[in-house]
Symmetry: D2
Subunit: 149 residues, 4 copies
């Protein structure tokens, strides 16, 4: 049994619905439930859905970098919550994003996977795709500073 | 005379006012002039001002990561425009941001400096501070794919 | 049939043995065959083996960061070669590495996967593990500037 | 008086000679004094010199990426030592390096500047130049996990 099997057997500390409710409460200015939907959480994993809107565009008719950064960052935050439970003050300490293909103007999906959960730092990677596509539009790695858990 | 002196002697291809007018035109959904102001451009340099508003906050009462990413990304775009002239389709290919200190809920300044302007790629670094502070709240490096210039 | 199936069906441009012979030729100061072994190549993929030696250590008895950087960088180069064929002058333009767990003083494996192969840039991710472990010791993303192919 | 003036007034915890002696002791496999020389330390700063040798080359007759990574990483370690004193077990947690210009086959200088010294993490940037040049050959940002200090 390897680490992946272990991860499958450990239930998430928060379901998708619980992460959503938590984000609505601590992050009211962030349009959870309308523009962003949490589709699934697992131990060490979260999948988020970003609903398309004109405000996400940049010159060239493609989704803007800041919109993709936001999706990556919040998907990672959801994966942290799913793994260690409701901690409002987990904060991003660094994020590297590579923009790989220009996404069409439609919904996007972000999948965050924990690479390491340490005592003080969580590191994960996030893949972003346009809905219905298999090739990555962007790829990010992020580090979160996490409180004692 | 070193590279810095050379940079001081080369006039920017676009003034702050010209970069602003260009961004309003190609990027209408982006609130240039209201939420973001271009304060200064030089060859290889731009300084942007992000006006504080509640929508920029995250849990803990501090400016959100996506807001700072946006300021860094747009400041770098302004520095690219100032250096090579009006090119709508310069695109960010990668960006790494380190969040260093939690910024107070007030205006922030982003200063972008070009580290390299190649034929196909521009690389720069961006320092972000809260208005009136000298210590960096965040630091980013970004790569832009640029058209022939 | 998705992108992964396509990748499985496209044969590599160079086998592991061909990549090894090429690196010995263009990169004689690099100990291919002795300290580094290419175990497998596929279209968009390469796996390298780094043989343990005392020169790889750092304080604390763990493999040094520069040794892991080297393994990540060369594994990515091997994946580029496997995908586009023998091009000596592909060069790394950027690399981000996250060190996740301190590796024991023994052999390490690096697996590089192409995330994007564009006309001018190749982007990939590289996972590093100690031999016999399943958890990542380090994770990197790298961008290579590639010649016309 | 701003932060820069403060930094100038705070003496380093270790001089260049003390950092050298410390690295020789804890890091004997690393050729301090022969291939790498610490030229200067200040509070939040270190400058290192890497002596040219054929083993640093890569195809094309330019200094290899791993050699530049090593210079950046060790310069940052020296800056950490200069700022918090002799701590063997400070470890790099992440490093992002952008390769900007191909350095000639000659000595290189790395200058590391601390951007933040927190209780658990130190973040810095490192500029690398060929000796006698003013334009950066590479630029890196690095995060170190530091013990209580």
């Amino acid at each position: 049994m390897d680490a992946h099997d272990n991860a499958k057997l450990t239930p998430p500390k928060m379901t998708a619905a619980e992460v959503s409710a938590f984000l609505v409460q601590v992050f009211p200015q962030f349009a959870i439930g309308r523009s962003y939907k949490i589709e699934e959480t697992r131990h060490g994993f979260a999948r988020m859905h970003m609903v398309y809107g004109d405000h996400l565009l940049r010159p060239g008719g493609t989704i803007s970098g800041p919109a993709m950064f936001t999706l990556a960052d919040v998907a990672m935050y959801a994966a942290v919550l799913a793994t260690i439970g409701p901690v409002a003050l987990a904060v991003t300490t660094s994020l590297t994003i590579n923009f790989l293909r220009k996404p069409e103007p439609r919904d996007m999906i972000g999948e965050a996977r924990m690479l390491k959960l340490g005592k003080r730092l969580a590191v994960g990677e996030i893949g972003l795709v346009s809905e219905g596509e298999s090739e990555l539009a962007a790829h990010a790695t992020a580090t979160y500073s996490v409180p004692p858990h």
